[in-house]
Amino acid sequence: MPHDPQPARFWKRNQMKIAPYAFLAPGAVMFLIYVLIPIVQSIWISFQDWDGLGPKTWVGLANYVELMDDDTFYVALKNNLLWLGLYLLAIPMGLAAALFLNQNVWGIRLYKSLFFFPFVISQVVVGLMFTWFYAPDFGLFSQLIKWLTGSEVAILADERYVTYGIIAAGLWPQTAYCMILYLTGLNNLNFEQIEAARMDNARGWRLLRHVILPQLAPATFIAMVVTVIGALRSFDLVSIMTAGGPYGSSQVLSYFMYEQALSEYGYRMGYGAAIAVVLFLIMMVFITLFIMRMIAQERNR
């Protein structure tokens, strides 16, 4: 190529530098359009009073001030913390199920798929099933309670139990998810280490705690991440099972945001956006922790 050496030489010279950016570009552009810009937009809208139709009015921090004075917000926040705490039970429960299923007996594949089943079906279906399960009069659970205690309890109509009832429904598929993560982890165990530990007379609980669990750390980490995020964005179950009721006592931040901004009784985009920003900040705490851990791990490698 003597007549046109420039481009080729430029490409050759910079190929190594450009290639990574070229490969990153499509993903980065998508991330920008679908994640970063909407985040900035949401924050922008949260300073406005806007019904989604008419002109926006700048109200500064008024939406946040109102939020701080809104009883529903504190109910939602409290419930979100409950979700966060109790949802983590999915991890030990998933581990237990995985350990139980990690054996070679006839038909184990069938059992595994049965345990995995709740994760495959839609959250909406899970919500409906548990609604019927809890239903007074004909629900299996309320029948059981009636048989045990003699009086009926309508879980989803009682402000004391409603959030626990919904979380229990959420734990069912989430446990299955964690179980799958651990089952794959168990497949990759280093058997030489286990053999060595056995020779040193470690068995049962000590074997699990000191030999197997450390090897499962990556699976535990992923399970933590998906469970925390799942707990914070719990929306579909609340929407299907109670719509935040009775009288707002099972409200969570994500549903509260939807109700204010997008439901028939809402169309307060600014207020909804303010709730979204608060939820985002809470999530950022966890996301930052996770990312810091990931970076630390990569440095150690």
Partner: protein
């Protein structure tokens, strides 16, 4: 070759669209997505076309739920000539924003002030009429006639009789009232009627218009009456867990005797196995003596958007929609009541009872979630539900509602 063809086609269609608008085309947007309303609307349009062959009707039928969001868009972006909506405060935001056309002339020219008298006040804002109502249905207490007879109860005419009847039923092991409050709105029927009977229509309208604080002693008086039913356990248990339909089986099985509901509940009761002889209908009894009886009757309406292109023909359509014949036929299909008092009376027992009751009503309320702005309605109905579970917390609930009121009506 293909390009010229395409261009000709484009020009032709543009030309056709242009002329069609000239030759009297009206575009109607509405939300009759359920089978029965859809059929009623199709018949209405077909009949209109027979009578006015030179006006072409183009009908866009929206999904019922989606329409509530869609109308906010199309009224400003691409207004049709006629749009379906609701009476009362539900239409107020659009009227105030200048998105609906004043149609007082249609009312005056067709004698509608007289014929649609019962709905006139709910169509009036600032002394002008903003649309034409075509259907409504009554609310009232539906009860098990046979259970009443077995327990020697005659339909109560006033509050004391209602309490006495409830006590008798409760003693017989029957819950006096069925209700399912999961969807919140059934509670609003109770609040509406208690307020209409305790304080009257004018007070109720002022309250839903945000002019009266919820901490007013007159509002509390409403809840005190309500508590006389809640505290002795006259409503079925666990009502917050079920929808309104799920409470019907209790009535069918004879575990509950009365249900304050809209007339649509009759169909569900019949589906559940009750015969027409077993179901009775009564007006909500009097509470404060001397207050004229007003009723809840949610009214569906048609309006002309301010940005409509063909207002002349749209007004012809509204006039036709208001006529006694059109309303009688449409409501026979819908199983609801014509608003026009010249329409032929419905033959159904319950509709006939409702027709008589509404024709003699002092005034008609639209239902709490249509009379009050959406945000207030949501908070209010949540408060009603909470009150029905925890009647002792009424002061805290009313304070919360008052806080919402101060926020909503700025």
């Amino acid at each position: 070759m293909t390009l010229t063809k395409a261009l000709t086609g484009l020009a032709l269609s543009a030309f056709l669209m242009g002329t069609a608008a000239f030759a009297g085309e009206i575009v109607i947007n509405s939300d009759q997505s359920d089978p029965t309303p859809k059929k009623a609307m199709e018949e209405l349009i077909a009949d209109f076309q027979v009578k006015y062959p030179d006006i072409t009707v183009k009908w866009n039928n929206f999904d019922h739920e989606g329409y509530k969001a869609a109308i906010r868009n199309f009224l400003t972006a691409d207004p049709p000539d006629v749009a379906a909506w609701y009476a009362g405060n539900r239409m107020e935001p659009f009227v105030k924003a200048g998105l609906f056309e004043d149609v007082s002339d249609v009312w005056a020219a067709n004698g509608l002030d007289d014929q649609l008298k019962s709905a006139a006040s709910s169509m009036t804002i600032d002394g002008k009429k903003w649309g034409v109502p075509y259907t409504y249905y009554q609310w009232g207490i539906y009860y098990r006639k046979d259970l009443f007879e077995q327990n020697g109860i005659t339909p109560p005419k006033n509050w004391a009789e209602l309490l006495a009847a409830s006590e008798k039923l409760k003693a017989a092991g029957i819950a006096p009232f069925a209700i399912g409050t999961k969807a919140l709105w059934p509670t609003a029927g109770w609040f509406d009627y208690l307020d209409l009977r305790v304080n009257g229509y004018e007070f109720h309208m002022d309250l839903t218009a945000g002019k009266i604080p919820y901490t007013d002693p007159r509002v509390k008086a409403v809840f005190e009456k309500w508590a006389e039913l809640v505290k002795p356990g006259y409503f079925i248990e666990n009502h917050a867990a079920i929808d309104w339909q799920d409470a019907i089986p209790q009535m069918v099985q004879g575990k509950a005797a009365m249900y304050l509901m809209g007339n649509f509940a009759v169909a569900t009761m019949k589906d559940g196995g009750l015969t027409e002889d077993q179901i009775g209908f009564m007006q909500f009894p009097e509470i404060t003596a001397g207050i004229p009886m007003s009723e809840d009757a949610p009214t569906d309406t048609f309006h002309i958007p301010a940005g409509a292109k063909n207002k002349e023909d749209a007004k012809v359509f509204l006039a036709y929609l208001a006529s006694p014949e059109a309303q009688a036929k449409m409501n026979a299909t819908l199983g609801q009541l014509p608003v026009n008092n010249q329409s032929a009376k419905p033959t159904d027992t319950f509709l006939e009872a409702g027709f008589t009751m509404l024709s003699n009503a002092h005034a008609l309320a639209q239902f709490y979630d249509r009379d009050a702005p959406a945000e207030m309605a949501k908070a209010g109905m949540e408060g009603f539900q909470e009150f029905m579970v925890k009647p002792d917390d009424i002061d805290r609930i009313l304070e919360r509602l008052e806080k919402t009121r101060a926020k909503v009506y700025k």
